[in-house]
Symmetry: D2
């Protein structure tokens, strides 16, 4: 494959900055490829674009330069303190390809995004648009979401994430939603993707509590243990924490978290999920899960777990994986949802398995097709 464009919605955020800086650091041999799934031996020979073939651009509503953002992340311990210097030139190259988030009516904004993407894709083989911006509240259903024809009459019914998906498809790009926002998940947009012969994937990157749930819930099921309740509390700071402190935005996230349990256990399970904004945690998050289960002869037992992770470090390599894999899907002419990327998501599009082991097997097989 030739050059691949990676267009990031939320390009100045922690995840995007970490992805761009990290790709540069790996290319320069400054760091190992830890966290990159597509660098595992299982994916050797899958003909994915190389890290050196990725060209970064994107939109954002803020205008702090990427170099500045990287310095902030290094000061906060999210990036190694020695990283920003050696990758400054790469960050500046990406900086030159960033564009302000468009405003105006739905149609005006969509046209602006299409124009930005069209300009960006010059000289690139394929472009993948990835949404790594803040979580939106759930979107109010509207009849115009149901068909492309109706939607074309009224783009104002689309939340921003869906408008980006619309524009991505119009500009001939693949689309990935790494957030729990609406993205491409409307019948009208699915229709557009299929018509245009473009792939999409999502949604909501699985980087902590839900990742664990997708291996532990199958374990309980396979051992015939009866899960009575599964409760979770998530503490996080940073921009995502602030967004998710809003009950509307949190409700999107929580629905996909409990759904993983229901899918793996075959029924709904008692228990709440809390997302608390704890500003002092910065980019770090802590998840505590408590599982009450019943075994032989009704014995009551518990599992508790605490996951302490750095959100950007967990998400960024998956963003790079998805860019590479979606570029391959573009090249291979995959149209519509790519269910085989469910390994990466809390709430995957399409009709794939729900346990991580099967998701990994499906992904590996897809990559070698």
């Amino acid at each position: 494959m030739g050059k691949i464009g990676v267009w990031l919605i939320g390009a100045r955020g922690s995840v995007a900055t970490t992805a761009v800086a990290g790709a540069a650091a790996m290319r320069a041999g400054l760091t190992a490829r830890t966290g990159c799934v597509t660098e595992l031996p299982d994916f050797a020979g899958a003909e994915l674009p190389g890290l050196g073939d990725l060209v970064f651009g994107g939109h954002d509503v803020v205008d702090t330069p990427l170099v500045k953002r990287a310095e902030h992340l290094a000061a906060a311990g999210v990036l190694p303190s020695t990283l920003p210097g050696p990758v400054a030139a790469d960050l500046e190259a990406a900086e030159a390809r960033l564009r302000p988030a468009p405003s105006g009516s739905g149609r005006e904004a969509a046209d602006r995004i299409v124009a930005d993407l069209t300009e960006f894709r010059e000289g690139l083989d394929h472009v993948v648009v990835l949404n790594v911006s803040s979580t939106e509240p759930p979107c109010t259903p509207h009849p115009a979401h149901e068909s492309l024809a109706a939607l074309e009459e009224n783009l104002d019914v689309l939340p921003p994430s869906a408008l980006y998906a619309y524009a991505a498809f119009r500009a001939g790009c693949g689309f990935v939603d790494f957030t729990p926002s609406t993205g491409a998940r409307l019948p009208a947009l699915d229709e557009l993707a299929r018509t245009a012969g473009l792939p999409y994937a999502g949604r909501d990157g699985k980087t902590g509590e839900t990742l664990l749930r997708s291996v532990l819930a199958p374990m309980f099921a396979q051992r015939a243990l009866n899960v009575l309740s599964w409760s979770g509390t998530n503490l996080l700071g940073g921009g995502d924490g602030a967004t998710l402190a809003d009950p509307g935005a949190a409700s999107s996230k929580n629905a996909s978290k409990q759904q993983v349990l229901a899918q793996n256990l075959g029924r709904d399970v008692d228990g709440e999920v809390h997302i608390d904004y704890v500003p002092a945690l910065g980019d770090w998050k802590t998840a505590w899960d408590h599982v009450l289960f019943e075994g032989f002869l009704g014995a009551r037992m518990t599992l508790q777990l605490t996951w302490q992770g750095c959100d950007s470090a967990l998400a960024a390599p998956l963003v790079l994986d998805l860019a590479r894999l979606t570029a391959k899907a573009c090249r291979d002419g995959v149209a519509g949802p790519v269910a085989e990327f469910g390994f990466f998501f809390k709430d995957p599009v399409g009709d794939g398995p729900h346990d991580l082991a099967s998701q990994y097997a499906a992904l590996r097989e897809w990559a070698h097709r």
Copy 2:
């Protein structure tokens, strides 16, 4: 299948008593089949013996009657307080088939066991011998372990668990080692099992910390996360706790625990495992694991988990599963180690996968062969 004999080494122990009482309670419809893997829909149609077809007998060094043991377990909250009454008749029926653990030279003891098993198997289609007694220290290697011919000259070189395996094969029974003891894992005994056309499986039931490790280690591997250390502390009371407080016995157990990590992560990992005897915990055990791992750009993150379980409640249904599955192996003429039973064990015989998801798939497929 007709009647199946289930011969338990350590037949008056907590695990055995719980298995016998639980099988009776399930047959009588007093309790759900929670914890029984072979009762899952995935195993419907596998032509396993029914719970009503199992006939229990066994050896033990102590002589507390099973009914008494069940009452003790109920008082300690291991069995439901209402259970012992309704299953007393079943426990007494098993009681009548228990025999004292044999003494004397290796040859004398083996002959005694063979005689007991031969008497027991009258009227039964197949007999499966399961070792659920206390953990032995690792066995000192001896040249006579290497071939059946050499072994027959000197049965005194066998630790008790291996002597039971020898006698089981001589008596035409399948053998399962649910403990980390030697059991059938000597070349001479493997030769005997193959010659006699009998199956064996083991070893060391996977009921807590290692069960979790066998789903979590693959998760780290599949996400390309670099595990830097994996430390564990196990607190347990009961007979097993007292046995494992002995460093010799604990070393058997610990080796199989760390091995699961090495197999799933593809390399050895730093970290110790402790087993502490805490008498006041009785039949309950608590395991705490701490995993330090490295993600993208070297970010340091941790996972901690605490598992609080009732050892007998976790082990007993698996003993019943293994009895049923091994009976099928006997009927089907499987000879030698059954690698497909690795789902149940910390340190499985044969050459199967090491992650729980693949082990489950292998077991399910085997059951439907």
Copy 3:
């Protein structure tokens, strides 16, 4: 001291049933005095009423007999399975002294309670009324709460817990609120208690998460460590769990929980407290706390703790302690709030210390006055 009456509001609840059954079991020598603060050597010689001097009665809205309740609690593992039998006679004796919760207008209900208490106190030296019923939502302020004269004109402005406090004082009894409800905490009721020369104490028994906070927050303060956030999640089943799943009732509870931190740390601290109703937990509760703190040179560190307790077992002995201590306060003519009982409460009346060590010292000194 002679006989002491212990009148329980919520007399058929888990806490009350456990207290009555436990007092009987201790009197009969069937169990140790674990959990009873007033049985510690530090309280020897304090001239408190003996356990044999306590006579139990009370009100409740439900009518399940105490013996039945005790059997349910034993089946659920809250009481020892062998307990209900030997204490049945004591439970029946208390049963005969229970009265239905009164209905009607505030005045009618108050008159009924006063009449019930007056009948009960015949032959008793002192009577202590303890509220161990379900938590009420916070009470809407009303001008008539401000003075006894105004209140006498309109008893309908009192929530049930306050009506009981009013009637207790009118009937010459001491009053203790073990819940976060309003109880005696209104200026008009304080006026009544002082006028009548009667003691009161409360509120909200400190039995888990807050107990821990009252020793850990002082530790951080004394070590000059800067607590950045303190988050908590409480999982509980049982009646209290169901009540607290209501945001109104929970808000009373949460306010007193965070207040303990503010009082001990000298400022408000970031962090939310959740109370989740998990029916399968029954009378058991689990609290997880996460503390993020800053040390020397800004180093970020954390403390996490998990408390797994049986609510009734934690609360019941304190109810007995408070009955005995409040009887002493009655005898000694203490009028108004007893700040020295702050050791027992999340949100103590009066002006006492907030750390557990000082509260214990204050209680011990008071007892020997």
Copy 4:
């Protein structure tokens, strides 16, 4: 008070480097005084030496310059990445006052230390020697430890920490042992300190698991809860982790950890303590404690806690506190063990209280004497 000398044994270690760098940073107003007990309002007016009055020197067996050590600690995230630059001059000033650890016979080494201390104390009002070097194995008892006269005949029977204590007293300095080593805790050295009119304190700084135990054990005792077992696992990297991986050294540490429980609970408690060396943790340590306790009517309950701290950040400010407080003790002519410093130690000298609250009160009162 005028200038105070702070002589550190192990002056190039993490704790010492952090203390020297931190004192400089606080003096320069670059950081808050978090973690410094003597900076709390409770200690205002105690006439302690100011941070600006402390002059640092010391011995070490290694010779990496302090500036280099500070850079390493900053790269490892133990010190803020921006700290080493601004405090480099202070570190170099201390560097000039460091001396190599002496060798030779006991007498030769002692003479060398006395000479170094005598040179150092020129122009200083008082000098305090603090041992912050690696933990020694327990010292073999010897008759010459029993009296000063006997000891003077044979200084070779002293382990290094005790030789430093001997020399400190000979040179007219106070002595503090922040490690579990022998230090001044021999009758002969106590005799010397009293004869010379010099104070000493120790031993083994209380910075994590034991700190928590000293507030939680009293809580259980005051609530009449019966602790059945208290188990602990400590994971740590760094130099201290490597030292404590040696069973001999660990045994010193573990004895003082379990002793705090016995002293606060009034009896020995079941449960082991493990110290595991996990190199990847670097200067960070994680402690997990599991407490099984019994409440009313024998109900079994548990408390678990996880402490994740930076060893140097926890210890360094206490070293500064102890230097200031011991300087005051020198000025006031305190001779022998200072029991009132028990607040800082796992295994305090003298006969003070064992719970943290009483220890804090004793320290505060002492400071204002």
